[in-house]
Structures are given as structure tokens and as C-alpha cells.
């Protein structure tokens, strides 16, 4: 089972929930840090790096001796990563999404694909938890292929917690697609509610069963809860606005390690998800 942890708003506690769920499941669980623009789950788990692989995307390389400057490649590319001005095409590799379409439409087979590095996938082992994290290279604006590379290293037979990037755009969709269940982490504030609505719309579009975790209970108001009630969305866990949690976070300690009284919260969350799924909930 793949359990994805997402949110509309950033900073609501996705990584906190992900790391603590992984610690709660313990031995054999996989934790995927798909927030490849700023992976941070490793800060809470430590451990040692066991592997690092370079991830590339295919970009076109034009053989000028074969090119007849017909412009088919440029007309095909919606990202304007390859353009022709009545001459051999120009390639703007940082705009290329690596779809391979230009090579397919080229009538002279003048385009071959070559790799462009976008980042790395690092693996770490700590207390039986396998952490797989993507790290996008600085200056690269192409997160989805790296997120897919992280997910490609997932072993289907064991449980996986997937820490998604914030928002509702392409990287988030690349991360949560294929998950069995999504936890949307929010906070009981107007911003939290606003972005939760966006995230709910996105997850419904993807038809993945989901529930909500409300973090920092005690701040803000009750509008998130009212929204969930009206929309018949289960609130599966509430985490109080406890200063000690923030202090543990600042030291890079998972809540369940620093504050054992919260361990049952996360065990209950897992149990709630199981119950919800067993009841055929959506």
C-alpha cells in the first residue's frame, strides 16, 4: 500500500506526518521524499546513505548532416524547446520535458536523444526504514521526471509512505498518482482551508480515497472542520498546537521519539486509515 501525504498549503506538517508514520510502522517501511525541490525527511531520520543515482531526462540532439530544416520538430514541441528558423533546429534543453516527440516526428531520423542531468535519487537506511529521496539540481525547474524516478525505486510488496510537495500542480500530481490513499495535512486557519479546498478538488479529480489531518489544533477557527463535515471528508487525526512539538522539530527529532505520548496518535491514524479503507470509504 502506498500512502501519500500531501497538502495544498506548504508548511502544514506533511514531513512531520510522513516521518512519524514511517517511525510508527517501523521496520521494512519505505519513506519516499518526493518534495525534490527541498527534500528534508532525512533531517529527522539520520542514518547512512546507501546509494546515489544520477537521474537524466532525454533531450534531443540534432545531426545537422541529416536535417533538412523542415521544421516538423519545432511544430510538434509545445514547450518551444526545439525551434527552427528555416535552418537546423535550435535546442533549448532547459525547456525540454523529455517526451521524445521531436525525434518521432522527424522524417529524416536526424534527432537522437541524449541525457540531461536533472538531479539525483539518494537512498538511506535508518532503523529498518528505507528512505528514498529525490534531490533536484539547483536551477532545474523540472520536478516530475525526478519524482517519477523516486517512485520507480519503490518496492511494491512493502508499505510505503510518500511525502509529496506542497501545492496542487504537476509535481504533486506526479507524486500522488498511483497512491492507494492520500492524507491531506492542513491547519485550522483561513489559509489552511483555502488551500485544502484546492487540494480536495485535485484529489477528487484523481479519484483517490483521502482523509484529512488537522495540525496545530488550537490556532485559528473551526472552518476546516465545518468544511470537512459538509463535504463528508473524514478527519483522521488532530495534532495539537504543542510548543514541544515545534521544539522537537527544530532539533530534527520525530514527535514519536521526542514525545512518546504522541505515539498512539500516529498508530491510531494508521488504524483509522485501515478502517476507512476496509469500510470501502472514498
Amino acid at each position: 500500500m502506498i500512502l501519500a501525504v500531501a497538502s495544498g498549503k506548504g508548511g502544514t506538517g506533511k514531513t512531520t506526518v510522513s516521518v512519524n508514520l514511517a517511525r510508527t510502522i517501523g521496520h521494512g517501511v519505505q519513506l519516499l521524499d518526493c518534495d525534490v525541490e527541498e527534500p528534508n525527511a532525512h533531517l529527522f531520520l539520520g542514518g547512512r546513505e546507501t546509494g546515489s543515482e544520477i537521474v537524466t531526462i532525454p533531450i534531443p540532439e540534432v545531426d545537422e548532416s541529416l536535417c533538412i530544416a523542415c521544421g516538423e520538430c519545432g511544430r510538434f514541441c509545445r514547450y518551444h524547446a526545439i525551434v527552427t528558423f528555416g535552418s537546423t533546429p535550435l535546442v533549448f534543453s532547459e525547456l525540454c520535458h523529455g517526451c521524445g516527440g521531436c525525434a518521432m516526428v522527424c522524417p529524416r531520423e536526424a534527432i537522437r536523444e541524449t541525457g540531461r542531468r536533472i538531479g539525483v535519487v539518494e537512498t538511506r537506511e535508518t532503523d529498518g526504514i528505507t528512505l528514498i529521496q529525490g534531490r533536484l539540481d539547483i536551477g532545474v525547474a523540472m520536478a516530475p521526471p525526478l519524482i517519477r524516478a523516486v517512485k520507480a525505486r519503490l518496492k511494491k510488496e512493502t508499505a510505503a509512505i510518500l511525502d509529496a510537495p506542497p501545492g496542487t500542480s504537476c509535481p504533486v500530481i506526479a507524486a500522488v498518482r498511483g497512491a492507494d490513499f492520500v492524507l491531506l495535512v492542513t491547519e485550522p486557519t483561513p489559509f489552511g482551508l483555502h488551500d485544502l479546498r484546492l487540494a480536495v478538488d485535485m484529489i477528487r479529480e484523481l479519484s483517490i480515497p483521502f482523509g484529512v489531518v488537522v495540525n496545530r489544533m488550537g490556532v485559528g477557527d473551526d472552518r476546516v472542520h465545518r468544511f470537512c463535515r459538509e463535504q463528508e471528508i473524514p478527519v483522521l487525526l488532530e495534532i495539537p498546537d504543542d510548543r514541544r512539538i515545534a521544539e522537537a522539530y527544530s532539533r530534527g527529532e520525530p514527535i514519536v521519539d521526542a514525545l512518546p505520548e504522541y505515539a498512539s496518535h500516529f498508530a491510531t491514524l494508521l488504524w483509522n486509515i485501515r478502517e476507512f479503507r476496509n469500510a470501502g470509504g472514498r
Binding site: 514547450y79 518551444h80 528555416g86
Partner: protein, 120 residues
């Protein structure tokens, strides 16, 4: 000869838009018969990536072989150069002023991009 100007309005009195890829629009002036056409750039300026390249494609499609603008980024400059478009920069306030300076030969040709991508 057709000369493209980056303009924030649709007359020659319009102020120059210092951006190229994300300019409000273009005024393409034909110096052979003193006429001009106005092209809106709304769609391209709102694209997340590749505005400069698309704007260069627009300029080339309109048959302009000179461009007068405020600044030009690396991708746009590379595309314009490959297409044989000469790029001139100016601080002129209006398109009319820039046209006058162009005609007087007072503008210098750019040899490289002068700003990074997504500079404004």
C-alpha cells in the same frame, strides 16, 4: 525593411516596453512605405517558460529583420540571432522616439544577451 519594437500600446506614441519576450505587444514598422502593424503579446507573456523564444518566432513570422527593445535574455537572443534578426537596445521613452533613433543610426547592435532569463 521591417523593424519590430516592443510596445506597451498600439500607436507610435506608445511607451516602449523594456522587455522582449514578455512585452505587452509589438509594433512592426515597415520603413519602405511608412506603415505599421500592431501585435498583441498577451498569450506569450503569460507563458511560464519560453516566452522569449515564442516572441522571437512571432517577430520572424512577421518578417521583421530588426528588433528594437530595452533588454534581451539569453534564449531570446540565441533564437533571434539564429533567425538573422539584428537586436538593438534603446532607452527611448516612446516607439516614435525609438524609431527616430533607429533611422538616425543612433542605436547599437547587441552582441549578447544583457539580462538573465525571467529578469522582470
Amino acid at each position: 525593411m521591417k523593424v519590430a519594437f516592443t510596445a506597451s500600446g498600439n500607436t507610435l506614441d506608445a511607451t516602449m516596453d523594456p522587455r522582449f519576450g514578455r512585452a505587452a505587444g509589438f509594433i512592426v514598422y515597415d520603413t519602405d512605405n511608412d506603415t505599421f502593424e500592431v501585435i498583441d503579446n498577451q498569450q506569450i507573456r503569460n507563458s511560464a517558460q519560453g516566452a522569449g523564444i515564442q516572441a522571437a518566432e512571432t517577430i520572424v513570422r512577421l518578417g521583421a529583420n530588426c528588433l528594437v527593445t530595452g533588454h534581451c535574455g539569453p534564449n531570446a537572443f540565441r533564437a533571434l540571432t539564429a533567425a538573422g534578426v539584428r537586436v538593438y537596445t534603446t532607452q527611448a521613452a516612446t516607439v516614435a522616439d525609438a524609431l527616430e533613433a533607429f533611422r538616425a543610426g543612433a542605436l547599437s547592435v547587441m552582441n549578447s544577451a544583457d539580462v538573465a532569463g525571467h529578469w522582470s
